[in-house]
Symmetry: C2
Subunit: 180 residues, 2 copies
C-alpha cells in the first residue's frame, strides 16, 4: 500500500543516513559557531507536516509575513545508486518570535507530502482528497514507528504536525509553531 | 500498494521535472561542446535497472574493469518543499566498447531499486526476495505507463533493463549494454 512504500522510502532513502550526525553537521555550520546565534539554534531538523498535505510553498520564507528568512544551508554528499556525490542539502532559516526574538533552525517540509499532494492534484494517480487524508495519516503513523526503532535517529529531528485550515501548507502561525 | 507509491514518487518527485529539457542540459555540458566527444555522447539519460534489484554499487565506475570512468556532472537546481536550491545532479561517465571506442553518457540506477533492495535486506519492512521481484515488476510496468503518457519526457531517457545473474547489480557486460 502506498503510504507504507512512501514511509519506507523516506526512511531508507533519506532519514536513515541524514539524521545520524545531524547535530554534528549543524554544529559545524557557521550559524552555530557565531556566539550570538548559537544560543538560539535548534540542533534538531524540523520536519514540517501540514494537516492538509498541501505543501504549496517551495521555500519557507515565502508568505511568512517576513518572519522567516533564508539564512544558509548544511550539506551532506554521498555516492548513491550511480550518482557520484549526490547532494543532500538542508536549508537554514531564522524565525522571529512574537516578542521579536530571532531563532535559527534547519527545516523543511516532509518531502513525501509534496508527492501525495501532486498525486491528488494531477488526478492521474486516481487519488481523491479523502484518500490523501487517509494516506497521510497512515504515512505519519508508519514513519514515526520506523524512527522510534532507530536509535541513531533519536533526538535528531522533530516532526511538527500542524493544522493549516487554509489548505495551503502555511498558516500565519507557522512561525510560532516553529518557535515553540 | 508499495510499487505504485514508489513509481508515482519517482515520477512526481524527480522525472517529471528532470526529464524535460534533459537534452538541452546535456548539450550545455562541457562534454558535449568538445568536438571529439560530441559525436559520441548520448542525449538521453540512461536509467539502469538490474533484474535482481540489487544495485550494490554506489558509482558506476566501481568494478567495471576499468571500462567505465567518471567524467563529470550535469546539475539542476530547484526550490522544493522547503529546501532552497535543492540540487538534482546527474553523473556523466564514459564507457569503452569492446573495439576500444569511447562513448559518453549521463547515467545512474533507477533510484527506487535501492530502496526496495534495502527494504528486503534489512528485514524490518517484512519483504522477502520473492516479494521484491514482484514489487520490481509492478514498479517497472507502472513507471513505463506513467512516462509514456508524459509527452515532455519522450526521448529524454532510456530505461536499460538487464539480467545480472550474480545478483550484484553489475555484470561484466554492463558496459556493453550501455554502449548499445
Ligand atoms: N528534502 C529532501 N531532500 C533530499 O535531498 C532528498 N533525497 C531524497 N528525499 C526523499 O527521501 C525519499 C527517498 O528518496 P529516494 O532517493 O529513494 O527516491 C527519490 C529518487 O528515486 C528520485 N530522486 C529525487 N531526487 C533525486 C536526486 N537528486 N537524484 C536521484 N534521484 C532522485 O525521486 C524519488 C522521490 O524523491 P522525493 O520526492 O524528493 O523524496 C525523497 C523520497 O521521499 C529527499 N528529501
Amino acid at each position: 500500500n502506498v503510504a507504507h512504500g512512501l514511509a519506507w522510502s523516506y526512511y531508507f532513502g533519506y532519514l536513515k543516513f541524514l539524521l545520524p550526525g545531524m547535530d554534528k553537521r549543524i554544529e559545524c555550520s557557521k550559524h552555530w559557531k557565531t556566539d550570538s546565534t548559537k544560543r538560539r539554534m535548534c540542533k534538531k531538523i524540523l520536519l514540517l507536516y501540514p494537516s492538509s498535505c498541501h505543501c504549496r510553498l517551495r521555500r519557507l520564507d515565502e508568505d511568512s509575513s517576513g518572519r522567516i528568512t533564508h539564512e544558509g544551508e548544511v550539506e551532506l554528499l554521498q555516492d548513491r545508486a550511480g550518482v557520484v556525490g549526490r547532494v543532500y542539502k538542508n536549508t537554514v532559516y531564522s524565525v522571529v518570535s512574537k516578542e521579536g526574538k530571532k531563532f535559527y533552525f534547519v527545516g523543511e517540509y516532509v518531502t513525501c507530502i509534496r508527492t501525495m499532494y501532486e498525486m491528488e492534484q494531477s488526478g492521474i494517480a486516481g487519488l481523491k482528497p479523502d484518500d490523501t487524508r487517509l494516506l497521510s495519516t497512515k504515512f505519519l503513523i508508519t514513519i514515526k514507528q520506523i524512527l522510534d526503532r532507530d536509535k541513531d535517529c533519536t533526538n535528531m529531528y522533530r516532526i511538527i504536525f500542524y493544522e493549516d485550515s487554509d489548505q495551503s501548507g502555511k498558516t500565519a502561525s507557522l512561525p510560532d509553531h516553529i518557535v515553540k
